[in-house]
Each structure stands twice: as structure tokens, then as C-alpha cells.
Symmetry: none
DNA sequence: GATGAATGAGAATTCATTCAT
DNA sequence: TATGAATGAATTCTCATTCAT
């Protein structure tokens, strides 16, 4: 039975995570202390340790939660893919849409007290990378993808994804479709395939 | 004559930077304290503060120093480019070679006590990004590049560069040429142009 | 029931104040550090900061405590006064007796590592001065006192009180009655009214 | 011959004292550091120690300088006195005028980072008190003053002087004559002799 | 399980003072 | 004598963590 006890536990955990998300995205990861997180909660300091061992652990939990939400969507998208185009496009569209939906989790990366950007590397996220890797290896095995360096291929997805996402979030309105179109085009056909854009040229003037 | 006095100052600054590079790459940025840096030096604690205000400042100094060394090389390479191929290839080759040469500065990104990767954002590095942006805008203006979204273009260079560099450094021997070839190919022709590679397929098995 | 928890808090606060009183009167205000105060306690260093923010704050708390004890007595004495003589005499007697009773709080003023005397200016003490001022203004309004400069009147009370108190404390036995008699006489009738004293003349020889 | 060497020394000493006066009156005694004083100078830190051992010493030098200027004037005034009235009045007039002239030296007492007032006790000042004491003892011996407690008498002069001076400085315009008149009247005839003042009554309303 | 005060290690930083130049 | 960087002891204060209630 999940009873009242269970419910409170779940609530407290959620409250801590919620507070942490807030604090991290305000102060940045480095500057945030466990105290800050507790203070943003109406729980006592000791209670924190019934749920997490350290700020690292909460941070990972946040990232993992996000990854946990995104990973199945990415996976499913890729599984459904029948062509490379679908594989690549599906991955990027899903990724950029997820980022746009959960801006705050992503914001931690950017808002930072130090002049330093952080990027996450939690088990869940690594698992996500590994899944991507596995799917790519599979795709190569199936002859869908040419036999290229899988590590670099993963790196290309990841690097393009995170970096472009950052620019995407700086804009208003946020346009995950456009970001995905750009990344996909580059991936599929190189710079020649990129969508043309007048504004960019003007910027250059 | 300023002589010995000046020399000592220069030496101390260098010693601190050197120690900091070491400590950062061993402990990671987050776990490093000013004390750690001082201890890795034979200077007194107070002396640190004659040169830097905080670990943030040393960190930036290190990044800036690196960026300062790499930027002109990148710039020159791009200036010399007569074709897109040269532009892209020159950029990536130079970048990956620089990374390979200065592994330690780059290592800070990876070895990290927390489950977190950091990426640098110092003025010098941002300046480097801005130069790339300007050069790309120029190239678009000159008709060398098609008129695409410059921000995303920069993001693509940066994302591919840093992420692939990371994988490159994990390997032995480190192969900047190979990394550059991969990134360049992807950038110029998309996945179809990527160099085929047997090993990758086997890894996946 | 709040019980032991509350009690411990009260005890700790008292312990810190007690220790601070001791240390201040031994080392003087300027030379005292928070460490000194903590060391005079069997509490941990961090505990200090659960109660006070700085040595300034403890110092003020001590002064305030003293003032809080003395103020009502002074006030009552003055309220009860039906003549100027009673007003002045009552004020000085009460003041010098309070000083004599709480020598240690007053001692901070004198024992000082630097060649400097400190005088207190905490809210409570200022409030005490203000009360005196108000009572004097009232007395003037009631026609009890002639209409003179109230600020200077307050200054006269305060200046005479604190400075004579200092000499009083140097003597053995401490004689608050004598000090009060002197101050009162001067205040009421000027030097001519002062109590004659043979010893003083001899001292001068 | 005082030569250039001598001159520079004198200049440096003066520069330090001048800077110290400034800094003390801005930051207050407690918060002032030797560094602050040096910084307010165009001398090097080491040079400070050719002239003074510590901030305490500079502070005393400042006070002493002031006392040295005021003491002879006070003394002379009292020597010339033929009556008690002249003795008391001369002392207070001279004192309050000196304070008004050298506001800044006196300001140290008041402007203070901590909520604490300091009062000085340097050898020169103590010497000034002792001179007053001796002169009073002499006056008593000569039958000019009645035989009262000399210590308390000194305390009365000092207490009235410094405390009233403080109020005097808060006002605009600064009126040493008025302050002296008040103190003198109180001293000579008690509260009944005090100069009446309309404003004070209104304040009380 | 929740609470929140106590703990004390340890980080950052300052500052008086020295001493080679 | 002046300089000003180096020194390192000393201080303030924070913070993760524990544990009695």
C-alpha cells in the first residue's frame, strides 16, 4: 500500500528536486550549495539526507529525470526510422523539441556564476549516448549507414545537438523545427544542403 | 634595470599557471581549491593573491592563454583559404592539432570530480568564436559559403570540434588528422562523404 | 514541549555572552577576536555564528543587556522625582550604583590593548540617552528645569557620569554614593557646592 | 644642516600623518589598516616602517600632535587665570575652540565602522589631563578652588568637555563660544546658572 | 521519518612585516 | 633610504553532515 507515508516521501523528493532545479538554474551548478537547495524548500536540513547524499546526487537526479523522459522518445523515433533521413531527422527533431520543452533543465548549463559552462555526464545521459551509439552501430550493421567511425558519429550528433540547442534557446521565438532542419541537413548533405537564409547574409554586411 | 625583480614576478606567475593547469587536470575544475593550487607551488599562500583574485581568474587565464595561442593559427588558416574545402579543412586540422598539442589544457574538461563536464567561456575563447563567426559571415558575403544561418554554422563548427576532440583524446595514438578528416567530410558532404572505417563496425558487434 | 532543545539554546547564548564579557574585559574590544570568544567557551567555532554574526554583534548584545537592566531603574527614579534635586540625585545615584554592580561590563571601556578607550553606542544605550533627553525636555516643559539647551544638558549628564564612573572604579573601595554626591552637587550648584575633601588637597602636595 | 635628506624625511612623516588623519576619520580607527594608510600615500609599504611601528603609533602621533598644540594654550590660559571664573572659562573656551579648529582629528572619535565610539588616551593626552590635574591641585592649594576631590574635578572637566564637544560638532554653525558658555556656567553655578534658551523648550513640545 | 542546532574541518582572504634589490 | 613583492600566521566564515530530540 502506498499510504500517506509513501506519499509524503514522494512529495518531499519532488519538492527537493523542484527546488534544486530552481536554484541550479538561478545560481549555476558551481555556486549552488546544499543549503541553498534546502532553503528553497520548507524541509529541514537533515531531511535532505534522507533523499540525497549530496548536491551532485540531486543534480544527477535532475539530469537523469530529463534524460529518462527524452531517451525513450529518441529511441522510439530511431527504431521507427526506415531510412537514414528518418533516423537523423527524427533524432534531431525529437531532441530539439525536448530541449525546448524543458528549457529550465537545460538552462543550468548556461546560467553560471563562474565564466564556465557545464555539460552533463550523468549515467542516464551517458546511457542515452550509448543507446545512440548502439542504434548507430545497428544501423551500420543493417547497411543503413555506411561503415564509419561510430564514436565520431555519436560525437557529431551530440556536439551538433547541444551546441545548436544553445543558440536555439537564445532566440525568440524558440524554433526547434528550424534547428532540427539545420542539423539534419548538415548531417545528411553537408553545408551545401543547408537551408538558405537571408537574414544571415545581411548580418554579415 | 628591472632585472631580477621583474624576472621573479614573471616566474611566479608562470609557476602558478603551471601548477593550476596540473591541479585542474587532476582534480577537475569544481574540486580544485585555491589552496590546492598554492600547495602545488613553492610559493606562500598570500603570494597567489598578488597574481590572481580567485581560482576562476587563474582558470580563465589558462584558457585565455591557450586560446591566444590557437586563435591566430586558426585565423591565418582561414584567411589563406581560397575554397570552402580549404576553409573547413584548415580550421579542423588546425584545431585538432592544437588540441592534441595541448592535451592538458583540454583535459580539464574531462577529468572532473563531479559528474559534470565544463566548457570554457572566457573572453579570449568567445573572441575566437566571434572571429570564426566574422570569417564565416565574410565568406558568405564573398559568395564562398551559401547564405545560411551563421549562428548555427558557428555552433556546428564548435560542437563538432569540441565533441570529436574529446573522443580523439581518448584514443591511442591520438590522431588529429583522422579527427579532422571526419569532421571536414561531414561538414562538406554530410554522412555520405564520411571516411569508411572497418574498425567501427567491429566495435559495434 | 520545547524542553531540552530550547534550554540548550538559551544556555549557549548565555555562555557566549559570558565568555565575551570576560574576553573583552581582559583583552579590550579592539584586540578581541571571534576566535578568542569561542575559545573561552566549550562550543564549536561554527556554533558562534548560530547566535551572533560578528564580535560587533556580541559586543552590542552585552552593552544592550546592561543598558536594558539599567534603563528602567533610571527611568523610574526620574519619574518619581518631584524636585530637580531628586531628579539629578536619583539619576546619578542609580547610575553609579549600576556601574559599580556591573563593573565588568564597564571594564571593557578601560582595559584596552590599543591606546584607546571605547565608549558604547548601541541602540539600547542610545535609547537610554534618548529617554534621558525626553525626561529632561519634559521636566523643562513642566517648569521643573529652566529652559536650557537640552542636548548640552544630556551631554553634561552623560559626560559627567561616564567620566567620573571611571575614576570611581579605580578606587578601593568603590564608592558610588561619593561619586553621585560629587556629580549631583556640581550639577545643582556648581563647584562651590562640591563636597569638601581633605584627601584631595593632600594628593596634590 | 637639515639638507635634502632631512627634508624628505620630514615630508614623508608628514605625508603619512596626513594620510592617516584622513583615513582614520573616514574609516574609523578600528577598521583602518596600515595598508589603507600607505595606500593613501604615494610611498611604498616598507617606507611606513621607517617612520612608525604600527597604526597604533601613528594614531598616537596624531593625537599627540593635537594635544601638543592644544596643551600649551590651555596651560597658559589657566596660568593667567586670577579667578576661578577665569580658570574655568578660559579652559573651556580654549578647549572648544581647539576642537572646532581641528574637527578632523576629533572626527575619528565619531565616525566609526563599528557601532562604537573611541576616545583617546595617548601619553600626550594623558599628560594634558595630568597638567589639568596639577593646575587644579595648585589652584586648590592657593585657595582659589575649594578643597574638593581633584580626580573627580578633572573627570568633570574632561567629561563635560568631550561630550559637549561632540554635540557642538553636530551643529551648524559650530559654536564654540556657546558650548564654552554652557559648560562654564554649569561648572560655576550649576544648572541654575545655565544660559536660557528658547529653542530647547520648543524641542520638548 | 522529520527536525534543526552543533559540529569542526577547511576554504578564502587579509595584513603586518621582512628583506632583497 | 625607498621600494614593493613575498611571506605565512591568523582570522573570518561557510558548509556538509551528524545526531539528540
Amino acid at each position: 500500500m502506498s499510504g500517506k507515508r509513501e506519499q509524503t516521501k514522494k512529495n518531499n523528493r519532488t519538492a527537493i528536486l523542484e527546488a534544486a532545479r530552481d536554484v541550479f538554474s538561478r545560481l549555476g551548478y558551481g555556486a549552488t550549495t546544499v543549503r541553498d537547495i534546502i532553503r528553497a524548500t520548507d524541509l529541514a536540513s537533515g531531511t535532505f539526507y534522507n533523499y540525497f547524499k549530496s548536491k551532485e546526487e540531486v543534480f544527477e537526479a535532475i539530469q537523469d529525470e530529463t534524460a529518462l523522459r527524452v531517451r525513450p522518445r529518441l529511441r522510439e523515433e530511431r527504431k521507427r526510422a526506415r531510412t537514414i533521413d528518418e533516423f537523423v531527422s527524427g533524432t534531431f527533431v525529437t531532441f530539439f523539441e525536448s530541449v525546448a520543452e524543458d528549457r529550465r533543465a537545460f538552462a543550468v548549463i548556461r546560467r553560471n556564476a563562474d565564466a564556465i559552462r557545464i555539460r552533463m555526464d550523468t549515467p542516464e545521459i551517458i546511457a542515452g549516448f550509448d543507446e545512440l551509439r548502439a542504434d548507430l552501430a545497428q544501423a551500420i550493421g543493417d547497411g543503413l549507414f555506411p561503415p564509419v567511425d561510430v564514436d565520431f558519429l555519436v560525437a557529431s550528433f551530440v556536439g551538433l545537438g547541444f551546441e545548436i540547442a544553445e543558440y536555439m534557446l537564445k532566440r525568440d521565438p524558440i524554433d526547434p523545427q528550424g534547428a532540427a532542419a539545420f542539423a539534419t541537413a548538415l548531417f545528411l548533405g553537408g553545408y551545401k544542403a543547408l537551408p538558405h537564409c537571408v537574414a544571415a547574409t545581411q548580418d554579415a554586411a
